[in-house]
Symmetry: C2
Subunit: 190 residues, 2 copies
DNA sequence: GTCTATACGAAGATAGAC
DNA sequence: GTCTATCTTCGTATAGAC
């Protein structure tokens, strides 16, 4: 029988990811994670010997993996379907939180990464993985590697930038329009 | 004769902008601003009655205005020249700081805006102004308003997202490639 | 306009009981 | 595995002298 510990730990990581998305690294305090997850204070250094830093890194890693699996699920399909899924993930998050959330990886990258050992490496790794998976989808459809990399870079840049704009504008319009533009580009390239 | 105050105040705003770009909102502490600007501690609440919050908002406003003037300077020229200038501004910042800086408006948007009254409004205003100016450049070249807005939105989203990726990757490649892709799109549209 | 000193609160981390 | 108490550090803000 699965120990309750696993649930508690997972709830804490989930809470950290939410906080990171919503309030950035600085807002992802231990107290806030406890309040949101309902986990007991005594669990912090039990499940996360690395303390708050580990909590933050684990949360980013989890979201990174989740998105990676989502892109993998589009293997064999049209690249634009992967783009749609990717955008849909962020659109749902934006709407669900009334435009108060964004990408936790971006949040860590632009705020506080230098304070957390290993954060730069993790952020770079997650972005590189996402981009590599998009690139692979494109080369599978006959796009040259060079062009595929450039397009994947554009897809990642534009969607992530759009999520920031959506938040500011309190609307999904920036993301919707970006996806429309990118879809045409992807269709033309493949 | 201009009082020395003006210099001190400007240096403090500059320092705040640098800190925001580099360490995000949380890292933009009063102590850090003082250390970086060399301003005397007694000046803080003299020049900024609103304290740290005002310092942060003033810094974002200043960068917003600077970029706005840069886009205005391209009036009458090709839209891609405005894009080049825009990208060059961020590229210089990235290289000058060894990829430790990014857009301070993005930094405020994704980290800590909810803690600072008026921050959301200012962020939305700055982004909207930038996008409106790009849109105007495009309509001036005969692009339909609807298409111009979509392209301006893509330009803004992609460049801002690319700056984040540049930082993570410690390279200007993401921004360079995005600019190349966008340049073609702008040329084709105009 | 600028200085020092200080009040106040928030947050990370640890110790030691249960 | 979980709890409480506490240490320490840091950051904002204010008071009052110069």
């Amino acid at each position: 029988m699965a120990p309750r510990t696993t649930d508690t730990k997972q709830r804490m990581v989930d809470a950290a990811a939410d906080l990171l998305s919503q309030q950035g690294t600085a807002g992802t305090t231990i107290d806030a994670v406890l309040a949101r997850s309902g986990a007991p204070r005594g669990s912090v250094y039990h499940h996360f010997p690395g303390g708050r830093n580990q909590l933050v890194l684990d949360a980013v890693q989890m979201v990174g993996d989740r998105i990676s699996r989502s892109i993998d699920a589009a293997t064999g399909k049209e690249p634009r379907e992967a783009l749609d899924d990717f955008a849909a993930f962020w659109r749902r998050m934006l709407v669900r939180t009334d435009y108060r959330s964004g990408c936790p990886v971006v949040a860590l990258a632009v705020g506080g990464a230098e304070q957390i050992p290993g954060a730069d490496r993790l952020v770079a790794e997650v972005f590189a993985t996402w981009q590599a998976k998009f690139t692979a989808l494109l080369t599978r459809r006959g796009v040259t590697p060079k062009r595929a990399r450039s397009l994947a870079n554009l897809v990642l840049s534009a969607t992530q930038g759009a999520v920031v704009l959506c938040r500011a504008e309190r609307s999904t319009a920036p993301l919707d329009h970006v996806v429309a533009e990118l879809s045409e580009l992807l269709a033309a390239a493949a």
